[in-house]
Symmetry: C2
DNA sequence: GAAACCGATGCAATCGCTTTCATCGAAAAG
DNA sequence: CTTTTCGATGAAAGCGATTGCATCGGTTTC
């Protein structure tokens, strides 16, 4: 339907329909109002008179005007844009959360700039810098940045939201849960199921380490010997399963359950175990993390730890909204908790 | 290391260290040069004298200056930012490609705005609009937009790159391959393996339909009866497997191979088949699409169609570079092809 | 009927950079 | 020794919006 004719028209004196894209002023001229009014119409239609609005709408249609957000953001010194920083896109535990956030942000007229930090601190730093340079309204990150950047962020008006984690003293605010508690609960759960020799697969990430820590402590507090362990690189993924399974088969005292850092890895282990003729969970239990959609659909279904990505997304949105209204935060840490979901694989 | 002291300093007359973030001018004053020089230093260090550069660097350090990209982009009317539009983040065939693109873009100082279009044309349109409003250098999309938007894009200076597809007349340029050819090759391949009754799982997307079309045509040209089919919603994912497998079991003439729209679905089918006691590929072949990392790691490994995501990413980067230099394109369509990778599952 | 108010709009000053053009001293060319 | 050339810098005009303040009819209010 929208089918703007060839730009030009019965424009006033200046035949300004050159080649450059139409500006607010062009629209204003066309609608015979000031550019201020057009701006108001665009940002707050309520304040302009019905009939004027109609004229402006027509002028926009006619000229094929597209607002220049760069100029608008500069003038208003806000960007309607948030940055999301995650380590990876493939094999990410966060995709579900991100997908929801992006959806909600977009729906509320914000845009999302995405940055992949990898595991390098430097990349994170430079991405934070880029985000600050764009004057984003908020930076959502799964990890902390360096101290240098922390202070940059602190000095700026930007809200820094760390998700999936609850550091002692967050730079901005944190929305997440205690990975140590998660590790502890997993230990208790496995103990309650009568498992004797868990094998931990941990990646070299702060979060994974915290879970491991929680697990170790509790497991030993429950009177067991320390569990065995495999280390994998980040991110924890399906493909790691072969090596991990090989590790296990090589051990003298075979583990009776494997605690994985992600559901994808858990899935991989199930596949490996089955390929080797083992039954899950009878011969080997497998526990995932993150409660990805697949865990409910795998055979056997995977026991996992659920983190409410939707809740995190909502809290993030709420935090941004509060921040934009200039309100303060009741608490700088929001614990969204986690839930161990018992299914068939353990 | 970077540890900017409390902003203020022995600044000249104006004690302008108020509360607002430092600007170019602040840095300039501090370094006793004009703001133009600081700007030059930032964008093209080569043109400023060694010693001046040092002073500026120091001033930046001292003030904790972060350039305002909004202002910069407005002034130079380019944004060093590209938009990437994909249907979903979870279960996306494109993640690998996107990850590479984001990596390369970031490395070359560009930022990436990500948009999730879902399957709605409207969402796509409004995201394109948002991208144009931000005056992105390029919009990379896996699908076309509406006509209305097409003309907006055409009118703008923005490069529109459609990936993973090769439409007759791309709006901007297209980097992809023929899905119809892929379907055809799959048909030939299965025929050459002696399969008789393929079952197609297709989603209601143009690309999936094109592949199906190619498959149907070739399969029948080879003298076979039309294959059976299951329809699933987008995106094609692991979880669809249960229903699809149930479909198959219910059929009178059981298929001997299932052609899936993604490796995740293929994985799901293998899991279902095995859970039902079937052996893959002996009792049932399974063919994936996209050559995700898992396909080489599954048991059995999954025969799939590989699309060179890295190549697409490179071509995209090259196209953007060419476009930024104002050069024209030799061709508006770049065929990156595809490769059928035979593994164990078929 | 004058004062106060109000909704709708215009004027013009920003926002923080980039970039053209001009300037200026020093080195190279004549 | 003058004239060019050149490298380094400054002055200032935008870039395209937003927004505080002023204006101006027309209502209300008393």
């Amino acid at each position: 339907m929208t089918k703007p004719p060839p730009a030009s028209s019965n424009g006033t004196e200046q035949g300004s329909s050159a080649n450059r894209p139409p500006t607010l002023t062009d629209v204003a001229r066309e609608a015979k109002v000031s550019s201020a009014t057009v701006s108001r119409f665009l940002n707050n239609p309520g304040v302009v008179a019905e009939e004027t609005g109609a004229r402006i709408r027509a002028a926009i249609e006619l000229t094929g005007y597209i607002p220049n957000a760069l100029a608008g953001d500069l003038a208003s010194s806000k960007s309607r844009m948030v940055a999301v920083l995650i380590p990876h896109l493939e094999h990410s535990l966060f995709n579900d959360m991100i997908e929801r956030m992006v959806g909600e942000m977009t729906a509320s007229g914000n845009n999302v700039m995405i940055g992949l930090t990898g595991t390098s601190r430097d990349r994170t730093d430079s991405l934070v810098r880029a985000a600050l340079a764009r004057r984003v309204d908020a930076i959502i990150s799964t990890g902390p940045a360096s101290e240098a950047v922390d202070s940059m962020v602190a000095r700026s008006r930007t809200l820094f939201i760390q998700v999936w984690e609850l550091p002692e003293e967050p730079v901005g605010i944190a929305i997440g849960f205690s990975h140590e508690d998660a590790g502890r609960d997993i230990a208790r759960f496995l103990a309650s199921r009568g498992y004797q020799r868990p094998h931990l697969v941990t990646a070299d990430s702060p979060r994974a380490q915290a879970r491991k820590q929680g697990f170790f402590t509790e497991w030993q507090a429950l009177g067991h010997a320390p569990p065995s362990e495999s280390i994998v690189d980040m991110p924890t993924r399906f493909g790691h399963a072969r090596r991990v399974f090989a590790d296990i088969r090589r051990m003298d005292e075979r583990p009776d359950v494997v605690v994985c850092g992600s559901d994808h890895l858990a899935q991989g282990l199930i596949v490996e175990a089955q390929a080797a003729g083992l039954r899950v969970p009878d011969d080997l239990g497998v526990l995932g993390f993150g409660n990805n959609a697949i865990s409910g659909e795998m055979r056997p279904t995977i026991t996992s730890v659920d983190v409410d990505g939707a809740r995190i997304a909502r809290e993030v949105m709420a935090a941004i909204a509060r921040h934009q209204e200039g309100k303060d935060f009741l608490s700088r840490k929001i614990d969204v908790g986690f839930r161990l979901i018992a299914r068939e694989s353990v």
